[in-house]
């Protein structure tokens, strides 16, 4: 899959040749620094970018149907039923002047042709399911009357209202404080189990991945640089970027040691890079990495890495 944006400053190559697959009920993590194309990639699944300035390439198949080939009208049916999405900042992702209950119920009325009464009851059920009590009172409140954690629960209720097959959590816990973060993650886990949904968790926090996911994709500069099962990647990260990311997560028992970080910034995606995108920041880079674009290599089974000098070779 590729996603490119036409901007006044030129074409942004936001996602390049990214490929991933998701099985039913699977939890997939997508990790990377800010500006690596994680959000852009998952938003493309629902085609949420402004069509006029966006060029999609490749294909996105949901149960064999390519969403990139659908008309806007058909997209309207995919959104919410094939995949639902929870966004980063719940404070601004809900309409400030519409009651939260109505924001859930309207989807049910419009998309499922439910009567007012039915949609109301179903909304209360959804609110209860995401742990909002008492739902009858909360239904009537406006976003500014609720806390961030509560709003994120409402967002989740909204996203699962049409029983989507995939739930995408785009940095869903980033804007929340740590205790609330844990609650939301637990809620997502529970809902996934109850409803048998697949889950895509976009995050920059490897801790979240370790807790939630079955498999993980690491993105850098619009490319997937490594993917595989969580156990495998934690045990033996193949890409130097993955290793650096994992090392930068604070761990209990390492008190006093300096937390490692990755020097530098991800590259500007306005230009296509020659060679490896991670080259300028890589600790094990060699001469050929500057000019030769690394290929995808198998590091054993489903574990794939885009690096010519993977760590395990050393």
């Amino acid at each position: 899959m590729t996603v490119e944006f036409m901007t006044v400053r030129g074409i942004v190559y936001a996602v390049q040749g990214a490929s991933l697959s998701l099985k039913q009920g699977e939890v997939l993590g997508i990790v990377g620094e800010s500006g690596c194309g994680k959000s852009v990639m998952v938003k493309s699944i629902l085609r949420l970018h402004r069509e006029k300035h966006t060029r999609y390439g490749g294909q996105i198949l949901i149960e064999g149907r390519d969403v990139l080939r659908l008309t806007q009208k058909e997209m309207g049916i995919v959104r919410g039923t094939d995949a639902g999405m929870v966004f980063q900042d719940p404070m601004i992702s809900l309409n400030p002047i519409i009651k939260i209950g109505e924001q859930i119920a309207e989807t049910l009325r419009i998309r499922k042709s439910m009567s007012k009464r039915l949609a109301y009851d179903e909304s209360l059920r959804l609110l209860r399911q995401v742990g909002i009590t008492p739902p009858e009172d909360r239904y009537l409140q406006y976003p500014f009357e609720l806390s961030g954690g509560m709003l994120q629960r409402v967002m989740i209720a909204m996203a699962i209202a049409l029983r989507p097959k995939i739930l995408i959590a785009d940095e869903a816990t980033t804007a929340l404080d740590v205790t609330i973060q844990a609650e939301i993650l637990a809620l997502l886990k529970r809902l996934r189990a109850e409803r048998g949904m697949s889950l895509i968790v976009v995050t920059h926090d490897f801790g979240v991945v370790a807790e939630m996911c079955d498999s993980v994709c690491v993105m850098y500069a619009g490319e997937i640089v490594e993917s595989g099962s969580v156990e495998r990647i934690f045990a033996s990260p193949a890409h130097p970027y993955t290793k650096a990311l994992i090392d930068s997560v604070p761990r209990p028992g390492t008190h006093g040691d300096k937390l490692s970080s990755i020097p530098g910034m991800p590259p500007d995606l306005l230009s296509v890079h020659t060679g490896c995108a991670f080259y300028p920041r890589c600790s094990v880079a060699e001469k050929c990495c500057e000019t030769e674009r690394p290929e995808l290599h198998s590091a054993g089974g489903a574990h794939i890495v885009r690096c010519e000098r993977p760590i395990w070779k050393k």
């Binding site: 629902l46 949420l48 806007q72 309207g76 049916i77 995919v78 959104r79 919410g80 039923t81 639902g84 999405m85 966004f87 900042d89 601004i92 992702s93 809900l94 309409n95 400030p96 002047i97 519409i98 009651k99 209950g101 109505e102 309207e106 989807t107 419009i110 998309r111 007012k116 009464r117 109301y120 009858e136 239904y139 009537l140 406006y142 500014f144 009357e145 967002m155 909204m158 996203a159 209202a161 049409l162």
Partner: protein
């Protein structure tokens, strides 16, 4: 059995409707501002007129000569021999009784004269504001949704042309245009029926509406563009709502809040421009009455006209604030205006 079912559905309706207990209190608070404002305005109207130093008796007599006795009785009759503050009190009483006093020249009830003319001005202001808002909002939303297309540009240019042209020019031009192409419909002339009323008012209202068109269109457009790009709009699309619902229910209601503020400001402009437009279309509105009365120092009429126009201005502002509260729960529940 039947009764319990109805009760249940009633309580359901009541529950999903907004039952904020603070709403009435806020309206009350807003009204508490309304009346002192009206009072202050009435003071300014009354006393600023007295500053001119023209003796009302001279106005009444005009060129005629009169004996001391006549002058004295006139002063007596119009309470002119009393201190100013008492005269003001007299006027307040007249306003509350709805008579607005007797005018100095024709010795007619001011209320009757105003009563004949106020509907024209009132209709003009209300119709033009409504027409202007509806057209501007429609154009604004359309150009925001079709942002940077040819349609968007055409709307911008057209609106700009209409606004740049002086309104008297547009008024006369439209009048000529319409009388040539629709000779059967009388757009000017006497008003004898309700149908007449609307056919006489529709065109001047439209021309008055042009005043606000450009700015309100612009504010709507930029507001809508911001709202359409907001996170909640993306979320609304993501949950599978059709674009139509996202635009009108989600984005427009948010974009409308600043639009309402601008429209309120334009009501004042519409009232003052109405005077001009009335004279172009020879409509017997308050404008003609007011200018005539100012020329002849006919205080009771001037006072009454100004008071009615002010009342109109403040009332429309009040209505705008009530709509504001209805649209924005933050203004209603938290009791504060949220600037967007």
């Amino acid at each position: 059995m039947e009764k319990t079912k109805r009760q249940r559905s009633d309580s359901f309706q009541a529950r999903i409707r907004n039952t904020s207990a603070r709403y009435p209190r806020l309206i009350l608070k807003r009204l508490l501002v309304f009346f002192p404002l009206l009072f202050a305005a009435s003071l300014v109207i009354f006393f600023s007129l007295r500053l001119s130093g023209v003796d009302p008796v001279n106005v009444m007599l005009g060129e005629r000569q009169a004996t001391e006795d006549v002058i004295f009785s006139l002063r007596e009759q119009f309470h002119l021999n009393e201190p100013l503050i008492a005269q003001y009190w007299q006027w307040v009483k007249e306003v509350f009784s709805g008579s607005f006093g007797i005018d100095y020249i024709n010795r007619q009830s001011v209320a009757v004269m105003i009563g004949q003319r106020a509907p024209i001005t009132l209709g003009l202001v209300i119709m033009s504001t409504t027409i202007g808002t509806v057209i501007a909002v429609g154009l604004g939303v359309l150009s925001a949704v079709k942002q940077n297309t040819i349609l968007d540009r055409v709307i911008s240019v057209a609106v700009l042309i209409f606004v740049s042209a002086p309104s008297f020019l547009v008024a006369i031009g439209t009048l000529i245009f319409l009388t040539v192409f629709m000779p059967d419909v009388a757009f000017t002339g006497a008003i004898n029926s309700v149908g007449d009323y609307f056919s006489r008012l529709i065109m001047p209202s439209f021309i008055l509406a042009l005043y606000m068109l450009a700015i309100v269109t612009r504010v709507t457009r930029s507001g809508m563009i911001i709202q359409l790009r907001s996170a909640y709009a993306t979320a609304a699309i993501a949950k599978g709502l059709p674009m139509r619902v996202v635009i009108w229910k989600h984005c427009f209601r948010n974009a409308f809040i600043p639009v309402l503020t601008i429209v309120t400001i334009f009501i004042g402009a519409a009232i003052s421009s109405a005077v001009l437009v009335e004279s172009v279309f020879s409509l017997p509105g308050l404008g003609g009455l007011l200018t005539q009365a100012i020329k002849t120092n006919n205080y009771p009429i001037v006072q009454a006209c100004l008071f009615i126009l002010l009342l109109l201005f403040l009332s429309l502002g009040l209505i705008a604030d009530l709509i504001y509260m209805a649209v924005d729960p933050r203004a209603r529940i938290a009791g504060k205006k949220v600037l967007t």
